[in-house]
Amino acid sequence: MSSPSLGAALRVSHLRKAYKDVVAVDDLELEVRPGECFGLLGPNGAGKTTTMEICEGLTPADSGEVELLGMHWNSHAAELRQRLGIQLQETQLSEKQTVAETVRLFRSFFRRGPAPSEVIALVQLEEKRHARVGALSGGQRQRLALACALVGDPDLLFLDEPTTGLDPQARRQLWELIERFKSAGRTILLTTHYMEEAERLCERVAIVDRGKTIAMGTPRELIASIGVEHLVEFSTGASERPFDRAPLERLDGVREVREDNGGMRMQVTELHRAVPALLDELRRQGVPLTELRTHSASLEDVFVALTGRHLRDE
């Protein structure tokens, strides 16, 4: 029995969970500090939801330790449920109940918490308080699910893919809501496969792939760790004349040039040198340029650097 990591809101060590022949979670590690918003970033099938459900007490782990707020599920289940707020990945709430009735139902389960009307106002659903759940849009339903997660005034909030399936505007609205909760000092664990979401909302992020944590730290630390600041993506119209990338790779400040999705992708440390060099080289080889994009390195690029795949590979 290891001593509790002082002050950790959530600690997961050596977590394992297998289903039949698929190992969903394989020796996963996590540590979430009180008051921070922590992200679990990874592609579909990485084991994020399974990990969440184990932390939420819905699924038993095969082995490993999960400690929440200094307590364990097998000894303090009732107490933990009072103090956690949960938003599942796919919940369809009862369609025929109204928003107010749903929130009131969930509020009745908790010893303490805000009044239903307060929570409904918090998620900006006051106008819809008497609307039936079945009549709500996707974004409104997610806000309702969030309200149900907040209704017990939780110390630890679990949000599983809160904006998946939402249009960009609804997504932004939800981000604003979550940012407001952060300032109230709550601890949040969020899973997502959208890197913008992780970068925007989370102080620290764990990147998971195939059931393992492959990197953990602040977004800035993680991006710096791959030693690349910019990405240049380009396509050439060279079906007859393939582009020889060897000369590019030898340039100063160019980390790597590789093929990616039908085009090429160049990892560089200095954009102002690399782009002119690229154009020169293309002209020298007589290869036309059909597309050019650049962006600063993001968590997606960290993932690519670590695994060779994209977050949203289908």
Partner: protein, 340 residues
Amino acid sequence: MDHPLVQLTLVRFREFLRESEALFWVFVFPILLAAGLGIAFRNRPPEVLPVAAVTPQLAQALGRDKLLDVRQLPAPAAEEALRTGKISLLAEPGPGGTVAYRYDNTNPEGRTARMLADAAIQRAAGRADPVGSSDRLVREPGSRYIDFLIPGLLGMNLMGSAIWGMGFAIVDARRKKLIKRLIATPMPRQYYLLSFLLSRLTFLAVEVFAVAGFGHFVFGVPLRGSLAGLAALCVLGSLSFSALGLLIASRAKTIEAASGLMNAAMMPMWVVSGVFFSSERFPAALQPVIQALPLTAAISALRANMLQGVSLAQVAPQMGVLAAWLVVCFALALKLFRWR
């Protein structure tokens, strides 16, 4: 008002009221069924029985009974008519001045025709009845088919609405992961199941009134037992069926699976439990099993209360059967329930 059990029960309430189909099946359908059957099996004046004779003398003798509709037919035609069921009996002369009757003695009409025909022929030949007799006809409510039927339909309705209502609601909630969402909260699990039982009770009054009230006010079906006793029996019956419904829905993940289980549980009871005809018609060897079924117990107790006016103490065995099903099914359901 904010107790979780109250809130959960309110949710069940609203789910039911906001589902218009359910309202039809629970309230309107049994009334239509009772009306249809009541009309089909209404008491009619005694029917005249068609019979045939092959000789004019026999025909004339038979014709003296008003309850016999006599035809004289030649032998081949008469046999054909008997074979196809157009007549219930054929009278023909036998050897040595006797009369022979051809009829089906497993058919009540055949037996009645035989008795009436023989009496008519004997009297025509000069039999005298030494004891004079007169008829005082009795049309006592309580012994008609409709009286037998209404408690049967009431029981069937209590069972159907409990099991179907519960089954679909639970399986649907499970499929939508609503149950999984709920157990992530501090909600005590038995409250979830209890809320189903409690909400059933709230609708009970209306359901019972619809069926029994219809029977009583429209067809004059008697309500001889105490109304409080009737209410108690309906409550107990409904709770037991609800617990059975919970058990049936405890593990099914799809509506199809749940439907299959519900039908498998209910259909045998529709046949053997005495809804439409007495359960005692089944062989003695099956009776212990039949009497142990919840629907049989419920209907038997309801009939005793409504038609014979017995007290609750006198239907204690049936109440015991229902209580046993309630307790055992609820305990098993709680144990086996698939929450995720």
